[in-house]
């Protein structure tokens, strides 16, 4: 029986499937800034965002877009932080659209105006996604850390549709809002969303810090999925084009998710300071990632250490190494393995084959008894970020 570890006899290594050919970086996520007027306690940004380096310039971003587009990137997401705080956003949209990208603006809607919606349309923006924190004003504003957020979002969602954009509405769900999922869905249908993302909190960044206060119970989750399926059936029967996308938290799975469709497989994130990552959660890992200020996108995607670190199967210790599901789920999420086991090569503890699966079971148990209120969560803001960075 082999023990856990990456040094294995040749006889076992020989049985590993061949390393798949490196795919195209079809999806480019441009995190333009970490600045944001909201303070959502489940933000996926790194805890120490306030300590990160200088933002890339307009010209540097355009170079990134041009090189990625030449390599086959087709979808471009403008994200953050709140991308609207970048004064050059319309210019970046126009350049990206000219290059042939499908351009997505992923925003909280705070800072959006009808004028901007119209200007972005002229610049060639293809789609706007607005995130909501809850279906009712009070909970939404409490979570967002802003008194006016909800009314502004409603107004902007209506304006987005009025200007002829397709619209995705994104609701991050958790134990404080998931029981209202029927009202969330009703609101999205009323706002004429084309797609609704009902995304149960994924535990990275600030969400991981606040996990006990966010993870829904199994019962809450089962109920939410049932309600969603009822609405799906109803929409389909009506021939309604609105599509509901339900993202379950992997804490209630027995097998890990095929995170990012595999490391360095289709997804490339560039963070505000130019660090390139295979996934937006990877920054915290003890892996050296390249920066677009120093390297071409070609080098970053195909040759850099960071992007090759977990490609193929050679890096896998047991139980992933001999597992017959490794080509399906790639051992799960590297960031989660690192956060919960201290070693990014380990199997994602979500997997019941992982020797660390107990941490997931414990989290489920804690969800049954958690008492934290929204007000007791750690809000994502500069002050908290600096405190955390100082340790």
């Amino acid at each position: 029986m082999l023990s856990t570890g990456s040094t294995l006899p040749d006889s076992v290594s020989d049985k590993l499937p061949p390393k798949p050919e490196i795919g195209l970086p079809l999806w480019l996520l441009a995190e333009l800034t970490y600045r944001c007027p909201l303070q959502c306690p489940y933000c996926s940004n790194p805890l120490d965002f306030a300590e990160q380096g200088k933002e890339l310039s307009t010209e540097q971003w355009i170079k990134v877009f041009r090189e990625a587009r030449e390599m086959g990137a087709a979808q471009l997401g403008f994200s953050g932080g709140e991308p609207l705080v970048r004064q050059d956003l319309a210019e970046l949209i126009a350049e990206a659209r000219k290059l042939g990208f499908y351009t997505n603006l992923i925003t909280s809607g705070i800072g959006l105006t009808e004028q901007k919606i119209s200007d972005f349309k002229k610049a060639g923006l293809d789609h706007i996604q607005i995130s909501f924190q809850a279906s009712d004003e009070q909970v939404n504003n409490l979570l967002a850390g802003s008194k006016k957020a909800f009314a502004q979002k409603l107004e902007m969602a209506r304006a987005v549709k009025a200007h002829g954009y397709p619209m995705v509405l994104n609701f991050v769900t958790h134990r404080h809002n998931i029981d209202k999922i029927d009202r969330i869905i009703e609101l999205c249908i009323a706002l004429e969303a084309d797609f609704v993302e009902l995304a149960t909190c994924q535990f990275y960044g600030w969400a991981q810090l606040n996990r006990v206060g966010l993870l829904p119970t199994k019962e809450q989750l089962v109920n939410a999925e049932r309600v969603t399926n009822e609405y799906r059936a109803k929409l389909e029967a009506e021939g309604h084009p609105c599509k509901l996308i339900f993202v379950t938290p992997d804490y209630y799975e027995e097998r890990p998710k095929a995170c990012m469709n595999g490391w360095g497989s289709i997804f490339l994130t560039v963070t505000p300071d130019g660090t390139a990552l295979p996934c937006h959660g990877a920054r915290q890992m003890p892996v050296q990632f390249p920066n677009v200020r120093d390297h071409s996108m070609q080098h970053i995607w195909y040759d850099s250490f960071g992007f090759n670190r977990f490609r193929g199967y050679d890096w896998m210790p047991e139980p992933c190494r001999s597992c017959d599901e490794k080509e399906k789920d790639f051992g799960g999420c590297r960031c989660q393995a690192f956060m919960l086991t201290g070693d990014a090569s380990n199997a994602d503890p979500v997997c019941s084959k992982s020797e660390h699966h107990g941490v997931i079971l414990k989290a489920r148990e804690e969800a049954e008894h958690a008492t934290q209120t929204i007000e007791q969560l750690a809000f994502r803001n500069e002050r908290n970020s600096r405190l955390i960075a100082k340790g």
Partner: protein
């Protein structure tokens, strides 16, 4: 259900059909997603009116309508 040929299909608002050199093929792009279309879906753009293609196209239209990729008017 057979496809009503008298109707004019248009891509749903916000859906974009384009050639991707890196993939050597046509794709349909939509919010945060992409579908790679096979050869027959791309043919109507190149050879409009060729009768043998009609069936392929009709099949594609059926799928496209069910998936809400197109609007018919």
């Amino acid at each position: 259900m057979s496809f009503d040929r008298s109707k004019t299909p248009t891509w749903r608002t916000g859906y974009r059909y384009q050639y991707e050199p890196a993939q050597k093929g046509h794709v349909l792009l939509y919010p945060e997603g992409m579908i790679k279309l096979n050869e027959s879906a791309a043919l109507d753009a190149q050879f409009p009116g060729v009768p043998e293609l009609a069936e392929d196209i009709e099949q594609f239209m059926e799928v496209a309508r069910a998936q809400h990729w197109i609007d018919l008017a």
